[in-house]
């Protein structure tokens, strides 16, 4: 499949007809999604309408924008006016968003053709997309395996070659980890650089929307479109933001540190092998790499508990609105006029077990008598982690390491053990807690072992606000390494 960048260029030049491009994407979706189940709602009608609009704009002689005719899929936790918005949950089954998310507005304004909404772990809580109330998504590299999560649907849609780019959201690793497991590029922007308006909230102080793309250049292009100040999201920042698309993709002289903490013993040895090769590639590009001895990020080993405490505390509050009173379905399992019983029935019946677990955890962490030991303590440690990163960026432009401790695991392999699933965030949660921009780029397939033949992701993390530099490094890395390997389902289509 062509990159978003070249599709847009050819649609704008008149070489491609946006309606043809869209029909081809629809055909790919209808064929390939039978195998991967990346989509909760293909919403083909909307894609056709948007393609018609782009065609109409071209007929008028106007420029449809930087994403002219590019099919883009959204994770189903981003509002598109009039479209279903389930967040992967039964509690929003049939609900339609009464307004557009900021990112949907931006994409449409640049001529993108929104094609469907993708599967996710319920309320983005998970790392395998197995927690979706609508069935798991399968990894296009091996359909017995998970695509990662929670943006697993978006990652699988791109890896299967249905769309060149999709949006995901990340709270603890939900963009980068599935990108790594599916062999594509996933970028988590600096917290506050992309508006969260219209993103169903999970952990509000952590949630970020970002692109998953087959090519680093496309991730940069889509980031440029969706980033920016939004008066309706008070946490977006207002400063100037250099373009990630035009930033020079050059590794020459870049100081890249590899903290030993990123090379945790939990990391699979074959994953480490691929990452080591990738680091050599960075050096070939002129980067000065150095392994930073253990001790530079002393608080990092608290990342998993701190992340789950912060995210779940916020989630326990964010998900309180799903009470069956104002929107969405109501459980009819208890025929009672008692208010509490109705709340309990709806929330017990329509939230999945992982969501209930996290609400319970967060509620506990915020409770009187426990908040000081859990919630407040976790905020202090979060601050320490941020400070430790900030100190490292005095000496390094970027930090590198594996994105995920392991490759795509089998469906069902970790779903019965919450903690082993939580370990998926081991290497991604720290940058989320610190709000840093971080990209996962595909760095080849594991040569041997448990994950033989499956993709491995290299993570590059930069200082807050340096999103353009992080993406430029990803582009440079891809330029040296060459076009990433494609999944069997994607195949060799052009």
């Amino acid at each position: 499949m062509l990159s978003a960048t070249s599709i847009a260029a050819r649609v704008r030049s008149g070489e491609f007809d946006p309606q043809d491009v869209t029909e081809e994407a629809i055909a790919r979706l209808q064929e390939r999604d039978l195998e991967v189940h990346a989509y909760l709602d293909p919403d083909i009608e909307r894609a056709r309408q948007l393609a018609d609009r782009v065609a109409e704009t071209l007929r008028r002689g106007d420029d449809p924008g930087r994403l002219a005719g590019v099919p883009i899929s959204l994770k189903d936790n981003m509002a598109v006016h009039g479209a279903t918005l389930t967040a992967g949950s039964k509690i929003l089954e049939g609900y339609r968003a009464p307004y557009d998310s900021f990112v949907a507005q931006r994409l449409i304004a640049e001529g993108a053709v929104l094609l469907g909404r993708t599967n996710l772990d319920e309320f983005a809580m998970g790392a395998s997309t197995e927690n979706s109330a609508y069935g798991p998504t399968r990894n296009p590299w091996d359909t017995d395996r998970v695509p990662g999560g929670s943006s697993g649907g978006s990652a699988a849609a791109v890896a299967a070659g249905i769309v060149p780019v999709a949006l995901g959201s990340e709270t603890g690793g939900s963009i980068r980890q599935p990108a790594a497991l599916c062999g594509i590029t996933g970028f988590k922007p600096t917290f506050g650089s992309v508006s969260r308006r219209g993103l169903v909230a999970f952990g509000s102080s952590l949630d970020v929307i970002g692109p998953l793309a087959a090519h680093a250049q496309d991730a940069a292009l889509v980031y440029d479109v969706i980033a920016g100040h939004d008066p309706a999201d008070a946490t977006t920042w207002t400063g100037t933001r250099p373009s990630a698309t035009t930033e020079k993709a050059d590794l020459e002289g870049l100081r890249i540190g590899i903290p030993e903490e990123f090379l945790d013993e939990a990391v699979d040895s074959r994953v480490l092998e691929s990452v080591s090769t990738a680091i050599k590639t960075l050096e070939e590009g002129g980067a000065i790499t150095k392994v930073i001895p253990k001790g530079a990020l002393p608080s990092m080993h608290h990342s998993i508990p701190v992340y789950y405490l912060v995210a779940c505390s916020e989630a326990s509050s964010n998900l309180a609105r799903f009470d069956g009173m104002h929107f969405g379905p109501t459980s009819e399992s208890k025929d009672t006029l008692d208010l509490l019983a109705r709340y309990c029935a709806t929330r017990a019946d329509l939230f999945g077990p992982e969501v209930r677990r996290r609400i319970a955890l967060g509620t506990f962490a915020l409770s009187a008598g426990y908040a000081d030991a859990w919630y407040k303590k976790s905020l202090s440690v979060r601050r320490l982690i941020l400070n430790e990163f900030t100190a490292l960026f005095g000496d390094y432009d970027l930090l590198a390491g594996p994105t995920s401790p392991f490759g795509a695991f089998k469906i069902g392999e970790r779903s019965q053990d919450a903690y082993s699933m939580y370990l998926c965030d081991l290497l991604t949660a720290p940058a989320c807690l610190a709000g840093l921009p971080s990209v996962s780029v595909p760095c080849g397939l594991a040569r041997k072992g448990t994950y033989k033949g499956l993709p491995v992701g290299l993570s590059l993390t930069g200082p807050a606000g340096q999103d353009h530099r992080v993406l430029a490094a990803a582009r440079a890395f891809e330029a040296i390494r060459g076009t990433p390997e494609r999944s069997p389902i994607h195949g060799d289509d052009a």
Binding site: G198, V200, S205, A234, M325, F327, Y343, A368
Partner: protein, 482 residues
């Protein structure tokens, strides 16, 4: 012996005031009372998934102004927190409020009791928060309805210290608070529309003790009458409990205005754990001290200061000063008129009698009358200069309201109300009276000086009331004594 004599009550009040913003606190929906249910709503205030709050700067400004009017400290930065609880009128499942860093804190607020005794209350804190929706319970059906028009309307919660010691004192505090907030232009405090709601913390202790008793909280007192009734009822209930050897339990009470009694709403065990935590959707924000200083400088004169000035500097009696200050519009009208008359007492008199009469008769607020401060000043000045008598002035007031095109003097002329003050015409009448009342003049001259009033009456009568009594009196004296 009544409860009041054996027990000393300790009262602290939490007042929720609706700020006078055009739009809601975290969305741009209109903030208005009385619209059809669920017509002033949007994705944000109905808490649709993915929506985010954005702070209405006007709510912040009014909150700061209120804090300044209450003598509070305004810290240079503040933040919002979430207060989590489930209720159908709270669509997010949490209320955005302020927990540990209120916008305003540590205020000192002065008021006077009904008897004029000065008192001071500590304002522990005043913080911003959003209002909930309203639940409607239709009769005869097994469901309730929710109206979210009010959801997200800005409130300021003002928490007093436990510094009030009787229902009367509490009422006087509330009246002064209401008046002050109206003066500051931050709130209408319209109880009918739910714009001023009160929760009361009450405990009692023996008059000779200094150990505080256990307090209860009485919720949702939505009129001044209910506050007084509820405080009295709760004090009596607690006194009865203690006098029968029982103990007061810390619980939340409700007041039933029909029975005039308080009853338990929920016990301490059922108290909510609100799980407060910082609102992650709204970053901490700066409250620029320079801006606060600017707002402070722009704060209008507050009612207590104005009242003192009227009584002390302008020499008005207490009752008139009270009345003029009760409503800001009245005081402002007075100020504008006084500017043109420089005669405080006369201006106050005319305003409080004739203008209020006109306002009553016509059922119009004073600022909608044809009689503007400038026109009232014309009348006050005309009477004061002797141009018309006080009686004529009253007639003139009505005429001026009815014929806004005519000046006071034009109307006095056309209504033949101009007083005779000049020598010529008045002297003629005085001389006629002295001539025709010769026997009275005789007795006056022989020492019965009290008869001067009889002669003056004859002059007034002969002039058909148009003689200026002061001038006529002087002229009589001059003529008789010559």
């Amino acid at each position: 012996m009544t409860a009041d004599m054996r027990w000393r009550s300790v009262i602290g009040l939490e007042v929720h005031v609706q700020l006078s913003t055009a739009s809601k606190m975290f969305c741009r929906c209109e903030a208005r009372f009385g619209a059809p249910p669920n017509t002033l709503i949007c994705p944000v205030c109905t808490s649709q998934p993915g929506t985010l709050p954005t702070l209405n700067g006007e709510a912040l400004r009014l909150g700061v102004l209120a804090g300044l009017a209450l003598g509070c400290t305004i810290d240079p930065s503040t933040k919002f927190d979430r207060k989590n609880y489930f209720y159908p009128d709270l669509p997010k499942g949490y209320q955005i409020s302020q927990f540990d860093r209120p916008l305003c804190r540590d205020g000192h607020f002065k008021f006077s009791t009904e008897e004029g005794e000065p008192r001071e209350v500590n304002i522990v804190r005043a913080h911003l928060e959003e209002d909930s929706g309203k639940i409607i319970h239709p009769e005869g059906v097994n469901f309730s309805l929710v109206d979210l028009n009010r959801a997200g309307t800005p409130l300021l919660e003002i928490v007093s210290g436990p510094d009030l010691h009787s229902p009367d004192e509490a009422m006087a505090y509330l009246q002064e608070l209401r008046r002050t907030l109206r003066y500051a232009g931050v709130a209408d405090c319209d109880m009918e529309k739910g714009g001023f709601r009160c929760d009361a913390n009450i405990s009692i202790m023996p008059v000779d003790s200094d150990t505080l008793g256990t307090r209860t909280e009485t919720k949702n007192l939505n009129s001044f009458r209910f506050v007084a009734g509820a405080l009295q009822a709760e004090i009596e209930r607690q006194a009865a409990v203690l006098e029968s050897g029982g103990t007061v339990i810390q619980e939340t009470m409700a007041y039933d205005p029909d029975t005039g009694k308080t009853s338990v709403l929920r016990s301490k065990e059922d108290a909510h754990d609100y799980r407060y935590f910082p609102e992650p959707d709204l970053p901490e924000f700066r409250v620029d001290p320079a801006w606060v200083a600017e707002l402070s400088a722009g704060l209008p004169e507050l009612p207590r200061a104005r009242q003192t000035r009227y009584a002390v500097d302008l020499g008005l009696n207490k009752r008139d000063a009270d009345t003029l200050v009760a409503e800001k519009e009245l005081g402002d009208y007075f100020e504008a008129t006084l500017e043109l008359t420089k005669k405080p007492k006369e201006t106050a008199n005319w305003l409080l009698t004739e203008l209020l009469r006109l306002s009553n008769d016509r059922k119009l607020p004073i600022h909608e009358l044809n009689t503007t401060p400038a026109r009232l000043a014309e009348l006050v000045n005309l009477v004061a200069s002797g141009g018309v008598s006080i009686q004529a002035g009253r007639l003139l007031a009505t005429a001026m309201e009815e014929q806004p095109g005519q000046s006071a003097e034009q109307l006095a002329q056309s209504m033949d109300l101009v007083q005779l003050s000049d020598d010529g015409a008045l002297r003629q009448i005085v001389e006629q009276v002295i001539e025709s009342e010769s026997s009275v003049v005789e007795r006056y001259r022989s020492g019965n000086v009290g008869l001067l009033n009889a002669l003056l009456g004859s002059v007034m009568k002969a002039s058909r009331g148009k003689a200026n009594p002061k001038a006529a009196r002087q002229l009589l004296l001059d003529t008789l004594d010559s």
